[in-house]
Symmetry: C2
Subunit: 228 residues, 2 copies
Amino acid sequence: MTPRAVVLLSGGMDSCVTLAHALRDGFDVAALHVNYGQRTQERELQAFTDVCDHYRVERRLVVDISHLAAIGGSSLTDRNINVDEARLDATEVPTSYVPFRNANILAIAASWAEVLAAEAIYIGAVEEDSSGYPDCRGVFFKAFEDVIHLGTNTGTNIRIVTPLISLSKREIVESGALFEAPLHLTWSCYRGSDIACGTCDSCALRLRGFHQAKVTDKIDYVVMPTYL
Amino acid sequence: MTPRAVVLLSGGMDSCVTLAHALRDGFDVAALHVNYGQRTQERELQAFTDVCDHYRVERRLVVDISHLAAIGGSSLTDRNINVDEARLDATEVPTSYVPFRNANILAIAASWAEVLAAEAIYIGAVEEDSSGYPDCRGVFFKAFEDVIHLGTNTGTNIRIVTPLISLSKREIVESGALFEAPLHLTWSCYRGSDIACGTCDSCALRLRGFHQAKVTDKIDYVVMPTYL
């Protein structure tokens, strides 16, 4: 039997490239998408569907954890906090941080992986380039892997695979281009709307990555950063 | 300021006694209840409300993670699998096991605890007497505490407190009686209905605990085990 993997697919560029890695690694992929009450939920779900269709991924699960919005504490889910303008030189954790989000997502992925007898969970986290989120670091994923090992049935052995963890956005774009990943189907903007804003953290990181990789980003933007 | 704790309150006996411990330890309690598509969801929510009212806990959060039902794999959420009759001598993991359930619940608790600046998460897990669930063991909670430490913002320091972890059901009943915890408001039956069945794993463990502690269980049962 082809080994199975659960791939976390947000609809963003990083998770699309991560899915390409899982397929290249020979896995039968089950794609998991999580809505957590973020502003751009509908657009990201569309991107998830488009990318799954592109790769003909049949096993899909969409989960709503919008209780994270009720808990609050992040500009992505709490409409009383504004989304920051991008500050790519910032060292503090930005307001777009959703408390402990990746643990919530990985817990769901691990439950599904156990039921599917999957061997791996792929997640497109990026340590160097992730705006300082504490739950995007390699040490966090290693610790979570231990928790999965301890908290699931004997015989379950699920690895957490983070193929992008040490890549820059430039290298992710290059990797996506090499694998012919459908980056034009992905969505990164934190602010929502039909056209990406071009000025939030996520847009700025994406645009800088394409710029540095000398690859054209085929999606439209409201405003292009002045350095481009 | 009084230190805060998030207490996981299922509506069962163990979580009620755990709440009593948290209050005795001097915490300002925030109570978290999680529905996960289990058969007895409505009855457990009523017990949660009754216990919170009894203790005048004002900060309450009810979260639905019924996607665990969609994922399946457990008799508590998958109606195609029957709830086993109690086999208190069994050594294998029973069919009522929900894959990685406690990790899903703890992830939510940790997100809320970070937002509330809480110092502790109380959970009424019982290692010796927990039907062999892998995510009820002390080593699992210790590993999850490490994950919380690594995955939350600098300055967040949340302990996972398991006051019942090494107690028997008899000792839990004794502890509840000592603290005058309102055990008559709690619900344990896995099968649901207005009257507890008396024969599922959870009923059997509860009844044996009361029996051994020589305390009267004031709730009604359809069938009482023959050993009582």
